[in-house]
């Protein structure tokens, strides 16, 4: 449970980053959400053997981290946490897909390895972009932006509640787990059985809390509708931000920039 606690602390830190003040932070959340969506769509739309053309896309996270003054190491660590999952997804590609695609001198590289690398790079790009989005916008603002972009309010509210109570729930969970650990005296305790009842209790307590929260909402005149208060405007800056980045992504998507650069460089030297 210690690791869960740490993950929650990291989540809080990511959220606190959103309180920084920079040109990127001040942009309307909708602009950032839109650009991130276009970015992710472009990155995932490539053919599965594409690798070289993905690298120019690193310019987006790099520029945003620099402009918004985010801690690059922290973001990198967050992305590294997801790597095991990506490895599981991609690890069988080299085994099944053994057709040689590239020959680097004596070294023959199979299509499997290339698609594996492609999956890895894509994950780093997309997950990184999502983390950066939260880091420069804040989870709440992302939800509100999604809602204003047309996501049904029910989903937005669900996401917000999830985010609000993940802290409370994880604290409750880690307390219960610590209590179990202390009383099992370093041994296994009752093994998996004690965990199942622990989780059951956690569920019941969550249920009761949900009821109390609902009561608190009713007590303050809740009628089933959330009223948006904050009005931020989608101005010239936002439009420029969206158009600029989207154009770049689409250009990169349809022209292999790495290859272009390669041709230029080899052209100079030949």
């Amino acid at each position: 449970m210690a690791s869960i606690n740490k993950a929650v602390l990291d989540l809080k830190r990511l959220d606190l980053l959103a309180n920084n003040d920079s040109g990127i932070h001040r942009l309307d959340a909708r602009a950032k959400v839109l650009v991130t969506c276009v970015f992710i769509l472009c990155v995932v739309s490539y053919d599965r053997y594409e690798l070289a053309a993905l690298f120019p896309f690193f310019i987006f996270p790099a520029v945003l981290i620099a402009l918004a003054d985010l801690p690059p190491l922290f973001i990198a660590k967050k992305i590294a946490l997801l790597c095991p999952f990506v490895l599981v997804v991609g690890i069988f590609n080299p085994l099944f897909d053994r057709e040689v695609l590239v020959n680097l001198g004596p070294l023959a590289i199979s299509g499997g390895w290339i698609s594996f690398a492609s999956i890895l790079v894509r994950s780093i790009l997309t997950v990184g972009a999502a983390f950066i989005l939260v880091g420069v916008t804040g989870f709440t603002a992302v939800c509100q932006a999604l809602e204003r972009l047309g996501m049904p309010q029910v989903f937005a509210v669900q996401l917000l509640f999830l985010y609000r109570y993940i802290f409370v729930l994880s604290e409750e969970g880690s307390r219960a787990s610590r209590a179990r650990e202390l009383r099992s005296c370093g041994k296994k305790g009752l093994g998996i059985r004690s965990f199942s009842s622990l989780i059951g209790h956690l569920l019941l307590r969550t249920w009761q809390r949900a009821e109390r929260i609902h009561m608190a909402m009713l007590a303050r005149g809740f009628t089933g509708r959330f009223h948006a208060y904050r009005q931020s405007s989608f101005g010239k800056k936002e439009l420029l931000f969206v158009l600029g980045w989207s154009t770049l992504f689409i250009l990169l998507r349809f022209n292999n920039a790495s290859q272009l650069l390669g041709t230029v460089v080899t052209g100079i030297f030949s």
């Binding site: 809080k12 959220d15 606190l16 309180n19 989870f139 709440t140 917000l160 509640f161 985010y163 609000r164 109570y165 802290f167 409370v168 809390r209 109390r212 929260i213 009561m215 608190a216 909402m217 009713l218 007590a219 303050r220 005149g221 809740f222 009628t223 009223h227 208060y229 009005q231």
Partner: protein
């Protein structure tokens, strides 16, 4: 201002599992009174409070808030009149930021954005939490959470304030801060608490619940000097009325004189 009267008549509540939490509770609380409801664990305090704004439906008896009977049709109005501060502020602060949380009630009441803005600023200033307005509730300390939870209720301008264990889990300074805040309110105030010193300081009147019934109802000093009654209801005198722990001498404070009389220890 008949709005501020709370009248509970033969209130009875039996939970669906058969537990009779309230057997027969009656009292009238009038405008501007500050009343402490005390009693052992399981005496029915929380159940009683949940009836006051219609969160629970009585099994028997009736409740009137300002001569309006509590019923389905009058609920919205009564919930605005009776501001309820929950025991656990985490239950009450569910919005992403302090500002959103305090604005939740006024927005539901249909106030205009400018009014909401002004009201939120006012109540946050009142509970000295103005600097917290853009923070998410999970970044606050216990005392801050409690003050913000009170602000969320005050922003709806209730006539009656109901608080469940307000000083629970606060450090001594935060407790004093909260008590000073509550003393200044002009609302009708109803507290439940095990913090008997707080009840002694803030409440003129005390209602003692025992096993779902009103066991005693009277001026705080009378109740707290009745040793027999307190022992029977699993209570005791507030610490400020008990003997000094160092020299065993008389109470640090006599029952009523509100200005604390300082008790020195020449031998310490």
């Amino acid at each position: 201002m008949s709005h501020h009267i709370v009248e509970v008549k033969n209130l009875q509540h039996i939970y669906s599992d058969g537990t009779a939490a309230l057997k027969d509770v009656s009292f009238i609380i009038t405008h501007g009174e500050s009343v402490g409801i005390i009693g052992a664990n399981g005496a029915g305090k929380s159940t009683l409070l949940q009836h006051l704004n219609g969160s629970l439906e009585p099994t028997g008896g009736s409740i009137h808030i300002g001569h309006t009977p509590l019923s389905k049709g009058t609920l919205p109005d009564i919930r605005r009149t009776v501001g309820m501060v929950f025991q656990d502020p985490d239950d009450q602060l569910f919005m992403p930021t302090v500002f959103d949380d305090v604005a939740f009630g006024p927005l539901n009441l249909g106030y205009s954005p400018a009014d909401v803005e002004q009201r939120v600023s006012e109540v946050l200033e009142l509970v000295s939490a103005g600097h917290l307005r853009d923070k998410p509730p999970y970044h606050l300390s216990g005392g801050e959470k409690k003050r913000v939870a009170i602000a969320t209720v005050l922003s709806m301008s209730p006539d009656i304030l109901v608080m469940d264990e307000p000083t629970n889990g606060l450090d001594p300074f935060a407790r004093r801060q909260l008590m000073a805040l509550m003393r200044d309110f002009e609302h009708t105030r109803i507290f439940t608490s095990h913090d008997l010193d707080m009840v002694m300081e803030l409440c003129d009147r005390v209602i003692v619940l025992h096993e779902g019934e009103v066991r005693a109802d009277g001026p705080a000093e009378d109740i707290f000097s009745n040793d027999k009654l307190l022992a029977e209801c699993r209570l005791e005198k507030p610490l400020s009325m008990q003997g000094c722990p160092v020299c065993g001498g008389g109470p640090a404070r006599a029952p009523k004189p509100r200005s604390p009389h300082h008790h020195h220890h020449p031998h310490s």
